[in-house]
């Protein structure tokens, strides 16, 4: 029996094709009444069209404007053509002179770069309100340094605004104003929230002159979809150390003036696992009313219990479990023997042509609208090494198109990072070589990158030996814990437990921190749970063991939110740390939620922070999900890992994965032309990915002052110094010669045509 939704969808198609509602209802007697109501409501929408005469009047009125535009455009184009060549010639000359001047001045010229908030040029066409982010004094664009200085409150909101800030060159419609930011002192005295304490707020105000100042024009609005509010405080005034502060934006209230919305935030504080907690712990129940006022009241709890309660606008929320380990907590469960799971792996960056083929096939078949595609064609690989030719971890690599920052990433443990010239509007089609600035330990090198001569570039810091006291490794597991993962979550947990024990047992002086983020979907018991990094593997295992699969519902899940939390809400250590995320999922992210994060932005942020993401595809992942997980892996130089089964399907360890575009195991010529893979035990594969990553960083010592910087294309001798001014002058001169020749020729033709006109006119007069 078809579901009501299926019946409805089919009937809609049939009615649109001209069939009557009655005819379609006959095929679905079990849904007749409800179906009729829905279809008749749909028909009302069609009937709600404005009358023909209204449309015709509007059409008559606008027609003249359109024709006028067409004609004036023709005139403007004529004028543009007549000015173009002389202007271009002058521009080339000025440029040539400028470049010669710069070349003469040499390194004395400083680098001043424009303030770039940063953006991804996703090809998806979700038009959201374009925003301009302002700084705290509301008067100037936000400087990235200011952004960094802000608390997570501001940053998380900026991240929300980022997809809109990119905006494909559209005129800004609104601005986001960051309200007062609450200062947190940590560790230190954290006092319970006081009535009337100014909370962070965000105002989105329209810049559209049609809206500003016009009450009830078309107010911007936002939905109340973030509701968790939790404030935990130690009654003995002994602070948790450190406090993870996660501000939320639970509500966005339409401004009655019709000029925008005000979103107000409350703070959530979560003690880190392993924190010593007093035995008498009160909770503070924070209630947020729609007007943004906040009340709080401490409630004593039984000894040894830590619990938070959240309420928004009178709606009770379920308790939010807070990840921590109590002083008297039970010891973690001993790691059981690993239940083997098999997995395959694909490194799309190593099989680049195959990946591009897969990408274009997917986009052709499904269209770019189903994912947030980023144009990764023209990929450039930049590798940074020290004087010994060994990779440098955490070097900042910034790429500029002219004065515009178009890429900002950090090198991974392999010393590599990627640059995608076509990923952003600002860099796509940029003709001149890009300028690349590489910085590590306050040492800077610059070189020019001509994408035509890539894709491999090697930057070697002569005279510097990159060193580490010990290898620092941050490993975070990001888990989809919705019910669709139920068939495998226990085995995956078991494997991750085993993996964490194996990591802890790795030989060498490795300082490992473990983190865990779990996510479900909106409307579920929780959206995300964040267990910040801990050096105690047992604490991590305790957190992992407490998780189970539930919720979900529809196929996509809140992967965007989970990814955001994994990148922003845990304490990643500094640039000299190997940072890995293993993302376990069986579904794509929701791309239809308002006020959601964007995985494409998050993966760019990961690359910016030197975080590598290895997705692990569980059973049931659809084609869109596969594409997105491979996007994330490719962009962050991770590997796409997938569980494999035997012919019996998911949950049974084997070697095949027929639902993915991954070819056949060990089949050199796959019929899907997507390459082959080998099958390993999942725990061994993950451990290998980790050890591969850290192997090149072992046993280094700190020394070194830089002497020289050598930049070369990988595998090729360093290019001879070449002054671009010479090329520009030559091009300019040829251009001018050509143009003067064309001018002379066209003048001749013009004079000739005029002569014919005179002759014709004269002939007419004599007819």
């Amino acid at each position: 029996m078809a579901s009501l939704m299926d019946a409805f969808n089919e009937c809609v198609d049939r009615v649109i094709a001209g069939e009557s509602i009655e005819r379609c209802l006959q095929d679905y007697p079990e849904h007749e009444e409800r179906l009729r109501q829905l279809l008749e409501t749909g028909e009302l929408v069609h009937r709600a069209h404005y009358p023909g005469v209204v449309v015709e009047d509007a059409q008559d009125e606008v027609r003249a404007r359109v024709i006028q535009t067409y004609r004036s455009r023709g005139d403007r184009n004529m004028r543009r053509r007549s000015w173009f060549f002389p202007l271009a010639a002058v521009a080339v000359l000025v440029l040539a002179v400028g470049v010669v001047g710069l070349a003469l001045l040499g390194p004395a010229v400083g680098n001043t770069f424009s303030n770039v908030v940063g953006s991804l040029n996703s090809s998806y066409s979700e038009p959201i309100v374009t925003v301009v982010i302002t700084s705290l004094d509301h008067s100037e664009p936000l400087n990235p340094a200011v952004a960094d200085a802000l608390t997570g409150t501001a940053r998380s909101d900026i991240a929300l605004a980022m997809p809109t800030a990119v905006a494909m060159g559209v005129t800004p419609l609104a601005e986001v104003t960051l309200g007062p930011i609450m200062t947190m002192t940590r560790p230190g005295t954290v006092t319970p929230p006081v009535m009337g304490t100014p909370l962070p707020s965000v105002t989105v105000a329209s810049l559209d002159p049609e809206i500003v100042g016009k009450p009830s024009a078309t107010p911007l609005a936002a939905s109340l979809d973030r509701t968790a509010t939790a404030i935990v405080e130690d009654a003995t005034a002994r602070p948790f150390d450190p406090l993870a502060v996660t501000p939320l934006f639970p509500s966005a209230i339409p401004d009655t003036g019709g000029v925008g919305i005000v979103a107000t935030s409350v703070l959530e504080m979560t003690p880190e696992p392993g924190t010593e907690v007093a035995h008498s712990i009160p909770t503070v129940t924070a209630t947020m009313s729609p007007t943004g006022t906040m009340t709080s009241s401490p409630t004593p709890l039984p000894t040894g219990t830590l619990e938070t309660t959240a309420t928004l606008a009178g709606t009770p929320m379920p308790p939010t479990p807070t990840p921590f380990q109590q002083q008297n907590a039970a010891p973690p469960t001993p790691t059981p023997a690993i239940i083997p799971l098999n997995a395959g792996e694909i490194d799309d960056n190593a099989r680049w042509d195959t990946y591009l083929l897969y990408r274009s096939n997917f986009l052709e078949q499904y269209g770019a609208g189903v994912v947030h595609d980023v144009d990764v064609t023209g990929r450039q690989i930049i590798r940074v090494t020290d004087q010994q030719g060994l990779p440098v971890l955490g070097a900042q690599v910034q790429v500029f198109a002219g004065q515009t920052l178009v890429s900002d990433t950090r090198t991974y443990a392999t010393g590599q990072t990627l640059f995608f010239p076509n990923a952003r509007a600002e860099s796509r089609g940029f003709q001149s070589p890009f300028r690349v600035s590489v910085t590590k330990n306050n040492i800077n090198a610059e070189f020019e990158l001509d994408a035509q001569h890539g894709p491999l570039w090697e930057v070697q810091f002569d005279g510097m030996t990159f060193t580490l006291d010990r290898v620092r490794l941050d490993v975070l597991f990001l888990l989809d814990t919705t019910s669709s993962m139920g068939d495998e979550i226990a085995q995956l947990q078991n494997n991750i437990l085993g993996i964490s024990s194996q990591i802890a047992a790795l030989p060498g002086n490795i300082d490992v921190h473990y983190g865990l983020v779990t996510y479900r979907d909106r409307g579920d018991e929780y959206l995300t749970r964040v267990y910040d990094f801990t050096s105690e593997v047992t604490a991590f295992q305790f957190s992992l063991n407490s998780e189970g699969a539930d919720g979900g519902g529809d196929e996509p899940e809140s992967l965007n939110e989970g990814l955001h939390e994994a990148i922003h809400s845990v304490s990643w250590r500094g640039e000299d740390t190997v940072k890995l995320v293993f993302l376990v999922a069986d579904a794509p992210p929701h791309l239809d939620y308002p006020q959601d994060y964007d995985y494409a932005v998050e993966m760019a942020t990961a690359a910016q922070q030197g975080i590598k993401i290895h997705p692990i595809a569980s059973s049931g992942l659809n084609q869109v999900g596969e594409y997105i997980l491979r996007q994330i892996a490719q962009y962050t130089m991770g590997h796409f890992v997938f569980l494999t089964y035997d012919q019996g399907g998911s949950g049974t360890t084997g070697e095949v994965r027929p639902d993915l575009n991954v070819g056949e195991p060990d089949d050199p010529v796959s019929q899907q032309d997507q390459g082959d893979y080998t099958v390993e035990r999942l725990d061994e594969l993950v451990l290998r990915l980790i050890t591969d990553e850290i192997s090149s960083l072992s046993a280094r010592t700190t020394t070194g002052v830089p002497v020289d910087v050598r930049v070369s294309k990988a595998g090729v001798e360093p290019p001879q110094p070449f002054n671009p001014a010479i090329l520009l002058v030559l091009v300019g001169a040829s251009f001018l010669l050509g143009y003067s020749f064309t001018l002379r020729k066209s003048d001749k033709r013009k004079r000739k045509n005029e002569a014919f006109v005179i002759i014709d006119d004269a002939a007419d007069e004599h007819m």
């Binding site: 709600a48 005469v53 329209s206």
Partner: protein, 188 residues
């Protein structure tokens, strides 16, 4: 009843070809063919007649300016026009244009045309109920039920998958019906 009849695909292909040559007649032909559909779309979304006219006018200005450039329509003229209209609507009116349920009559603009007055209160109520929906719900209803666009076309314009549009249209109709029922109850 004023019905919108979009050009069939063959006519559209011919129009597109003519347009690519950039002649004034082609631009006018496209204007005459598509203005009604685009105007209805914009007007249902924003409500205000002048604003809807400005939006559609801007769409055609952008069409003219795109001729001969890489951003000109190449495959689907109708898809291009609806996408740009959608973009202009958001640019002009913001991401979410929806009204509160209370005091709906206060939000209802006075009819601007005699024929609008004669069509009665009910259809105007439907239009305003439409504007109380979320942007996605409004859009899927207008494109699917108002314009009779296919699932694929609607999905392309909205930047979503076909299955997402299916579930969206179901929820949107359901929500619209609830609002209409509530409005009817509150108005006796």
């Amino acid at each position: 009843m004023f019905l919108i009849v979009l050009p069939d695909p063959v006519t559209e292909d011919i129009l597109l070809l003519r347009l690519q040559r950039g002649s004034e007649e082609a631009v006018i032909a496209v204007y005459e063919e598509y203005f009604p559909a685009l105007y209805q779309y914009a007007r249902l979304k924003v409500g205000d007649s002048a604003q809807a006219k400005d939006i559609v006018s801007e769409v055609f200005v952008r069409l003219i300016e795109s001729l001969g450039t890489r951003s000109a329509p190449r495959v689907s003229l109708r898809g291009w026009l609806f996408k740009v209209t959608r973009h202009e609507i958001y640019r002009s009116a913001g991401r979410m244009v929806h009204l509160p349920l209370d005091d709906v009559e206060e939000w209802m603009a006075a009819p601007e045309h005699e024929s609008e007055m004669s069509e009665g209160f009910d259809l105007e109520r439907v239009r305003h109920a439409l504007r109380m929906l979320t942007a996605d719900h409004q859009e899927v209803l207008i494109l699917r039920f108002g314009q009779h666009l296919s699932l694929k076309e609607t999905a392309d314009i909205m930047g979503k998958g076909v299955s997402a549009v299916k579930s969206l249209q179901f929820r949107a109709v359901d929500t619209l019906r609830s609002i209409l029922v509530e409005m009817e109850a509150s108005n006796g």
